[in-house]
């Protein structure tokens, strides 16, 4: 195919379920590409000499190569190329903010739309899973060295897979009764089906990784006790954790949730299935979600699916500044989510029985750019108004969970409570202890957490080798 022919092909759309149907259940919104669409979309790639797309990918997936193989119809080959850099493509294909990473850099994006790298990544991963043939992985001879991993989110899962392939004896300790971290309790089924996370966990177990659920490091065992139990190195990937509240009056009225609690009740505990399952949730008729990131978007779309007549995003900047993935914002809008932009709650209102009944907000305007480079929202004096709501979900960020660091005085943390590491090695100040993911970066992304896990695995492997001598 000539460049001209390639340029003539428009970006292919992934099939998705109609908004009025999908906003009533928790099944996945996107239906994916079929083989023909995938090949067509991949043929839009110009096979650049200097593929810019790769620069945009935090883990350096060989995008050009995998797209070439997709175009040729060698989907399993493409999946194998993918797995060299990214061990969880079924997840990243679904949740990476592609528009600010690989796809932002794609040369085709300059004049038109970039190649749908994310959609193709999702396609080959799903193809591989359906074929039941995970690309052959080499497992090095057993070293007999025990490595502990704290947390089973993307950082922990990635490090575990790599370390197991290097021949080490890996155990993951997870505080919850189910593995996956945010992939399990945070990101909803309609965006990331849990069976995909479960399939990755099965793959890990096939590699010989052990997973011990219901173990909290810092409580059930300290880090030092892990070493006493024969572990030679530990990778701490316990996520960010603590929900941030706004600190405005009324946040303790009944019906006010943190996004973490709201999503955990629904995703992990199955509250949408109450009373078949035991954990309840308040199903609001008018649900207001405060925030503009992925977490806010997941919460508000969950609220709609739980039956809210009105599900509203309340965000203090404008839509352009919203950190959520563009795809999610589009999907949310199609599903009938209301966007109240440039509004900031200053007080939550309750009724006589202590139930939330609304929020007093101020209108905002955008001023000068702040540290983050985004224009700072400035309240408009006297613009107070009320948004009615019988459930309010606060989704304005997370801070570091001090549970593990508090029990480990010799682990250095920064002033926000995140673990300090050497960026090139993921080593912490405590010998044999490595860290990565949200507990190092603050709230980041799945792919960055995975990148940390991969780097940590390499460092741990080197570190273990030094223990021999």
């Amino acid at each position: 195919m000539t460049v001209k022919q390639r340029m003539a092909i428009d970006r292919q759309k992934m099939l998705e379920r109609p908004p009025h149907k999908r906003n009533k259940d928790f099944n996945e919104v996107n239906l994916g590409f079929d083989e023909e669409l995938a090949k067509l979309e991949a043929s839009r790639c110009l096979q650049c000499k200097n593929p810019k797309c790769v620069e945009g990918c935090p883990v350096g997936v060989d995008i050009k190569k995998f797209l070439e193989l997709v175009e040729q119809g060698d989907f399993l080959g493409a999946a194998a190329v993918m797995r060299d850099a990214n061990s969880l493509p079924a997840l990243t294909g679904r949740v990476c903010p592609q528009e600010t990473q690989c796809e932002e850099k794609c040369i085709r994006g300059i004049k038109g739309e970039p190649v749908a790298i994310g959609h193709l990544e999702r396609f080959i991963a799903d193809y591989e899973r359906a074929a039941g043939e995970p690309s052959k992985v080499q497992i090095a001879p057993a070293t007999g060295k025990k490595v502990a991993i704290v947390g089973s989110g993307p950082a922990g899962l990635t490090a575990a897979a790599d370390l197991a392939r290097m021949g080490h004896d890996v155990t993951i300790f997870e505080a919850f009764h189910a593995p996956g971290g945010v992939l399990g309790y945070g990101i909803p089924e309609f965006r990331l089906p849990k069976k995909i996370v479960a399939a990755e966990v099965v793959n890990l177990k096939k590699l010989g990784v052990k997973i011990e659920l219901n173990v909290i490091i810092g409580r059930t065992y300290t880090l030092d006790e892990l070493f006493e139990n024969g572990f030679k190195a530990v990778f701490v990937a316990n996520g960010a954790g603590l929900p941030v509240f706004l600190g405005i009056p009324g946040e303790n009225f009944k019906g006010v949730y943190s996004a973490n609690e709201y999503l955990t009740r629904v995703n992990l505990m199955g509250a949408y299935d109450f009373p078949q399952r035991d954990t309840p949730i308040i199903r609001g008729r008018q649900v207001a979600v405060i925030g503009g990131g992925n977490v806010a978007m997941d919460s508000v779309r969950t609220a709609k699916r739980l039956g809210a007549e009105k599900a509203t995003i309340v965000y203090r900047r404008s839509e352009k500044e919203m950190p959520a993935r563009v795809e999610e914002t589009h999907h949310a809008r199609d599903e009938g989510i209301i966007f109240e932009m440039l509004k900031n709650p200053i007080r939550i209102l309750g009724d006589d029985d202590g139930w939330v009944k609304g929020m007093e907000c101020l209108r905002m305007e955008l001023g000068e750019p702040d540290d983050s480079g985004r224009r700072r929202p400035v309240p408009i004096e006297g613009s107070n108004f009320i948004i009615d709501a019988d459930v309010v979900v606060v989704a304005v960020g997370a801070s570091a969970n001090p549970l593990l660091s508090g029990a480990t005085p010799d682990l250095k943390i920064n002033k926000w409570g995140y673990i300090e590491v050497d960026e090139n090695l993921q080593t912490s100040t405590k010998p044999g202890v490595f860290a990565g993911g949200d507990i190092v970066r603050g709230s980041a992304t799945v792919i960055l957490a995975m990148g940390d896990g991969r780097l940590a695995a390499k460092s741990i492997d080197k570190y273990l080798a030094t223990l021999n001598s």
Binding site: G241, S258, E261, D278
Partner: protein, 287 residues
């Protein structure tokens, strides 16, 4: 590190109050008084927080004392020796602040007695003179009296209806104790029970300016600080009871807010219980 949580012993302490000993080796080894666990009976069950009332590190078991008030606690109380609980995680929460005060009083209301029991034991172990006041609605609801008597200098039972011990609430007995020039003077009070009782004890001791500790029981999900569902207001500040507590200075706690938040799922809870009862009836009917 293999984990299996079988019930090895079970005993009824009062109508609807059951004591179970459960296998949980590592928790039995490291837990300190004041800490709790969260369990999930089976797939689909709620996560249920319960205080660790006692441990037997040698046997690798922990003791839970449970009041069957709703679906999940009922279900737990109906399990038999040999049956297993799917998930048990812990120990959670900050251990009780303990020291040798000279003389401390432990006040238990209803099943709250199970929560003060390990604290009383630890205080006695540190050389304190410990007086226990244990209240119940009627005689049948006064629990752990003889077990407490093994290390407390004095155990004062009270009942609301006067069917046993002193008539009246635990606060009546406590007030008499405080006014009776106790020797050595009382330097600390640990009170656990229904929220109104903890509030009443805290109000009672405030003018005496005696250090008063209460153990709060807000609704919890994860127990690790991740969800914020357990937030309580203490000294005007929001605290997460699962990691910052569950014990707090009773003189600083906003009890009214706690009571109110505990009502969040009342409707869902009664629905769940009704369904459960119907289900149990059907089961029995077919036997």
């Amino acid at each position: 590190m293999a984990v299996e949580h079988k019930i090895v012993q079970k005993q009824m302490l009062a109508p609807d109050v059951v004591s179970v000993w459960l296998q949980a080796q590592q928790i039995a080894r490291v837990r300190k008084p004041g800490q709790f666990i969260i369990l999930r009976i089976a797939e689909g069950s709620e996560r249920l927080p319960l205080t660790i009332a006692d441990v037997d590190p040698a046997a690798g078991t922990i003791r839970l004392i449970v009041q069957a008030v709703g679906k999940t606690t009922r279900q737990l109380a109906e399990l038999e020796v040999g049956q297993a609980i799917r998930d048990v995680v812990g120990p959670l929460g900050k251990p009780t602040h303990l020291e040798n005060f000279g003389h401390a009083v432990c006040v238990g209301g209803g099943v709250g007695t199970a929560v003060v029991y390990p604290i009383a034991q630890a205080l006695a172990g540190l050389g304190n003179k410990v007086t226990a006041i244990v209240g119940g609605r009627t005689k049948d609801y006064v629990i752990l009296e003889s077990e407490l008597a093994q290390f407390c200098t004095e155990v004062i039972p009270t009942t609301d209806d006067g069917s046993y011990g002193r008539k009246g609430f635990v606060t009546t007995a406590l007030k008499d104790l405080l006014d009776g020039s106790p020797n050595p003077p009382i330097k600390a009070i640990y009170a656990v029970g229904p929220v109104p009782m903890m509030k009443a004890v805290s109000e009672l001791t405030r003018p005496y300016a005696i250090y008063t500790v209460v153990s709060l029981n807000p609704i919890m999900v994860d127990g690790t600080g991740m969800c914020g569902g357990c937030r309580v207001t203490v000294n005007g500040k929001s605290q997460f009871a699962c990691v910052d507590g569950p014990e707090f200075d009773g003189h600083l706690v906003d009890f009214d807010e706690l009571s109110d938040r505990l009502k969040t799922y009342r409707e869902a809870e009664s629905q769940a219980l009704k369904r459960y009862e119907q289900h149990q009836c059907k089961l029995k009917g077919t036997l």
